[in-house]
Symmetry: C2
Subunit: 276 residues, 2 copies
Amino acid sequence: MKMFNKVVIIGTGLIGGSLGLALKKQHLAGRVIGFSRQQKNARLAKRAGAIDEIGVSLDAVVDADLVVLATPIDTIIDFALKIEKKIKKSCIVIDVGSSKENIVSRLSTAIPGFIGCHPLAGSEKKGAANIKPDLFKGSLCVLTPVKQTDKHSLHKIKLLWKKMGAKVIVCTPLKHDQILAFTSHLPHAVAFSLMGAVPVEFLHISSGGLNDSTRISASDANLWSQIFLSNRKHLLPAISSFQKKLIELKLALDKKDKAVLTKILESAKKKREKLG
Amino acid sequence: MKMFNKVVIIGTGLIGGSLGLALKKQHLAGRVIGFSRQQKNARLAKRAGAIDEIGVSLDAVVDADLVVLATPIDTIIDFALKIEKKIKKSCIVIDVGSSKENIVSRLSTAIPGFIGCHPLAGSEKKGAANIKPDLFKGSLCVLTPVKQTDKHSLHKIKLLWKKMGAKVIVCTPLKHDQILAFTSHLPHAVAFSLMGAVPVEFLHISSGGLNDSTRISASDANLWSQIFLSNRKHLLPAISSFQKKLIELKLALDKKDKAVLTKILESAKKKREKLG
């Protein structure tokens, strides 16, 4: 069943492209127009069947029913402000940015049908070459409505993500950013730093532990510096919390205090087991 | 082809048990006797076919051709000194501990046929319940001979690990401990601290990034506090190196210096790509 006649996706990378492909495969969208800064990405998305057409001008949004802002986080607000005056009143606009406070506070007043979304389905493998229709299956998608959010639009976007196979969680932009600072941005900052610390000539003697714990440090550097900066306010204290934990461990090690050391590890292990 | 008539495995957990099972399956050992602090582990190992018999007294080593010390690292030297006087002159003794300097310097003089080994095939899933015959297939095994190491024994143990499917790397105990401090012990210390820092009430909004980067924090707390302490000398400076890298990243973030931040991430990403 069609949910939207015309969908415009700005940014046909991994997230935008996979969303387009799933919309097409499930016949949820009539026509999908895609934009990309890199023509190569747009062409790949079209070849994958994620979009029907490569957009020529942003005027394509004029009669769109859904606009998806899936560009790197630095440019989301700029694109939103570019289309703001062009879209029809009933148009729903979503973004898929990894931090929400700034974006939602700027756009929820400017665009009546705006819904902030964060599908937790990114990967170190970015770009249209990695598009897949089931990217969101079994993943989480956080929606961050505010007081002025249109209830009807929110309902429709909840349904959209459910049809993508995602589990929808609703929370405030502030809560989202506080949580993601710890559960996504901090692990990335730690993984990049860990990889930075290991001497390159030591890499030949390593195993699954280093491999797994640094997988996300293969993520795009430019994208992630944008994400870190976009959630700087919450990421800085999250890094400080982590530093304190590491100092506790280091101190116990330095003092050869096996009881305290084991207690620290045991408590982390118990929490890890809750993660499943 | 049989390599050893009688093998005694002290510690029939994941590593010791899997070694026993592979020895039996490949008909490399005549009889395998297993010891475990926990009778349950010994029984599980016997049921899995990893050992022929549960040992009653350490006198079982008297006519052994190979003794495998696969207990937690704290107890390896104690067991070695207990069997030292009992074994025959031609008996080869190996350990599988995660740090080597201390063990090798204590045992290479005491036991002529001693070869320090570190198969990098541990897992957060420890114990006899996780024994498998192909645990070492495709993994690395580091051997750390010293000046007084018997060449014939070294050759035989190299062959043994190759038959297990492992790639054998030879280096000094010192080099081993310096490298593993960075490529194994540091990632574990970081993962435990990261898990410690994430508030438990935030865990419901997370994805693959946190999952992968903290997998190893589900490892056994007691085993890992022993490993950390056993390589304290090299782990402490490795933690300091990591702390410096994290501070650089935090400073760039604090100063909103996108160029420096991106450069830090890019350099880590490039190194990660070398890891494969």
